[in-house]
């Protein structure tokens, strides 16, 4: 009832008020450069969802949405330039799609009062909303990913991995280094031996790392890779005949484009996931009807249902739902960045809501709070079927080891708070 009244009030406000400015969602995209193959479908998914809202629903709360893209080429300096160039356009939330850019933007968005959503990437301790007021990384972060991978290995080893050897092959960047601390703690807890194998950007040449893996014979390899690093690593793993079912990538190492170049040899490779896979969801019927068939799609439509497209779509849905929540909280369809932040902090995704969006089971249900900007940290596992050329979700979205992760989040965010003289703000 409350919901209906709010919607009614929003409609009345819209009818009575002056013309409203569009709701602006900047997309710091990368359609060029070494990481474009992952950046393009993500941005297409992100953009197409807002187009769908405009075409089908007339926007959000009756106000049209606008996506402004700025090309970063996955370059931190360009990302910062994009932020500076677009922040005057009344943006509601930034999605930098890069951990390097995220780290540079945290102080800027905090000073400018513009929220930033780093879904499954960025600074992990931003999950502590008490410290990071303007940054959100729900529904899961890199440390959840590390724990999710170890949980999966525990599952297939009857919960005993003491004495096992696990290698982390990682992109030698802020992104790739994020899980190390968590894995070190988990190694202490479960008694496995952890070895670290960094790969320099872009990752075209990894012979040394895979020769070492062949010599050391780890039982499992976890990969935190992005871009060409993924394709080369999977090919090299196949070359040394590393068992693919024991090779687990983070969600940024688990797209179709990562496994297709290796052909049948990639069969059985696993990757963590934040979302479900494929396009068997009612929202896709609407996307085809209102966006693709009307020629308004961002791409040519061949990426629909792929992993990075789905992730972009999901990120856009989360942003749109937060905007709706903000409109309801503040009783106006014309929201600004500060109101959007309130909406993100009060976001609640229930099964009913996901069902109504045509995305039932697309991602986990969760709620955000003042203290918890990171969501529930639920992680799923997908596996590549090379003959069918498709990913299959082989697990539920399962909880991760917050007993290990939460103290790390608390410690890292406390250090940030001390450096920046931040007071506790949550009750």
């Amino acid at each position: 009832m409350k919901m209906k009244l709010t919607t009614l009030a929003l409609g009345a406000a819209l009818a009575a008020g002056p013309a409203l400015a569009d709701l602006t969602f900047p997309d710091l995209s990368y359609r060029t450069g070494a990481y474009a193959a992952g950046g393009i479908p993500f941005s297409d998914g992100y953009s197409d969802y807002f187009t769908l809202l405009n075409e089908r629903d007339g926007g959000i709360g009756g106000v049209k949405t606008r996506v402004i893209e700025c090309e970063t080429a996955y370059n931190t300096e360009k990302g910062v330039e994009c932020y500076e160039a677009t922040k005057g356009e009344n943006p509601l939330v930034y999605q930098p799609l890069s951990t390097g850019i995220t780290y540079q933007l945290i102080p800027k968005v905090s000073a400018d009062g513009i929220p930033m959503h780093t879904m499954g990437y960025g600074r992990t301790s931003a999950a502590n909303g008490d410290t990071f007021k303007w940054v959100f990384n729900y529904p899961a972060n890199y440390w959840n990913g590390a724990s999710g991978a170890i949980n999966h290995i525990l599952d297939i080893n009857d919960d005993d991995i003491s004495g096992k050897k696990i290698a982390l092959v990682y992109h030698n960047s802020a992104f790739g280094k994020e899980p190390i601390r968590t894995l070190e703690e988990l190694a202490k807890k479960h008694g496995f031996e952890l070895s670290l194998l960094p790969v320099d950007h872009p990752g075209q040449e990894q012979k040394s790392q895979w020769l070492q893996i062949r010599r050391d014979r780890p039982d499992y390899v976890i990969m935190y890779g992005w871009g060409v690093m993924n394709q080369v690593a999977i090919q090299e793993a196949a070359n040394i005949r590393f068992p693919m079912e024991n090779f687990i990538g983070i969600w940024w190492s688990g797209a179709e484009i990562d496994v297709l170049p290796a052909g049948d040899k990639a069969n059985g490779y696993k990757a963590l996931s934040l979302t479900a896979v494929g396009d068997d969801f009612p929202v896709y019927d609407d996307l085809r009807k209102y966006v693709l068939e009307t020629g308004k799609a961002a791409g040519n439509g061949d990426q629909l249902g792929t992993v990075p497209y789905n992730r972009g779509l999901y990120a856009a849905m989360l942003a749109a739902e937060a905007a709706k929540t903000a409109q309801e909280i503040h009783g106006t369809p014309d929201i600004n960045a500060a109101m959007m932040r309130d909406g993100m902090e009060a976001l609640e995704l229930t099964e009913e809501k996901m069902e109504a969006l045509g995305m039932a089971g697309f991602g986990p249900t969760f709620s955000v709070s003042c203290r918890n900007h990171g969501g529930p940290g639920l992680v799923g596992v997908t596996q590549w079927d090379a003959s069918a050329k498709q990913w299959n979700l082989i697990s539920e979205f399962a909880p991760t080891d917050m007993d290990v992760i939460q103290p790390l989040i608390d410690a890292d965010s406390a250090a940030y708070a001390a450096e920046n003289n931040l007071e506790s703000r949550c009750e």
Partner: protein, 336 residues
Amino acid sequence: MSEQFVFALEVTLNGLMAGVLYALVALGFVLIYKASGIFNFAQGVMALFAAMTLVGIMDGQVPFSHLINAIFGTDLHYFGWNVPALLAIALTVCVMVLLAWCVQRFVFRHLVGQEPIILFMATIGLAYFLEGVADLMWGSEIKTLNICLFGESGCLPQGINETIDAVTYEWFGYGFFIDNLDITATIVAAILVVALIAFSQYTKQGRALRAVADDHQAALSVGISLNFIWVLVWSLAGFVALVAGIMWGAKSGVQFSLSLIALKALPVLMLGGFTSIPGAIVGGLIIGVGEKLFEFAIGAPFLGGATENWFAYVLALVFLVFRPQGLFGEKIIERV
């Protein structure tokens, strides 16, 4: 024999193989620099462009389809046929020759007599332009490169070489990993170098090319067409770029990061010299072995790993200190 020694031997062999792949890229730089004094910043992008064109032709992709569809509202993507690999390679070579002609006709012909830095800046512009054209022509998605020269046979092999694995296991009690693709690349590189040397020594055009490399003015005075030679040398560099693009593209799929393989060629050039084909090969081998052995012996155990990229440059700098023209480069003596 100690275990570490056996491992080091395996790393050395793999370093040699990696070095050949680096040398393949460096060769293109050398060809152009030798003939025209231009340091071609676009060589890596040429490898990307050539590989993308090859896959596009093989898959029957409509070039510039995104642009055509956007302008005319059509829905074109593929012609609906597949082109055999050999024919596709031949067609790609034609495209690279056409590109060489365009580069000469529209860029460097207007820059004759300019300072080397101007020519270098022009190649930077060319690199970004070519990257954009490749994107517009064939799209940014990762393409799988699966070359089979004779129908289903003669495919580029990948994966461990069983014979070397078995033999080394018998000798050392540990089977070495050598990738079949690397062995193929080594054979192809050897054939390429022999062919290039034979071309430059025993053909009229090759001798003309060497004459231009030695002295532009003298070559012009005996009637050698500088324009023709430059088109020829850019075509040869385009062909070398195609070979490098195939070998690197087979490893990782054809994608934009292929253009970054040029970064691997720079220390090779610093070490081997900018004007020597054998220098590019020897430089590639030294860099390949040096970086892999350093990573194995010092980088991974003591420095946290990922040392290869920077160590290659350190190694090249050390050589530069003692021999600024590179191992095989020509010593430049300017008398006042």
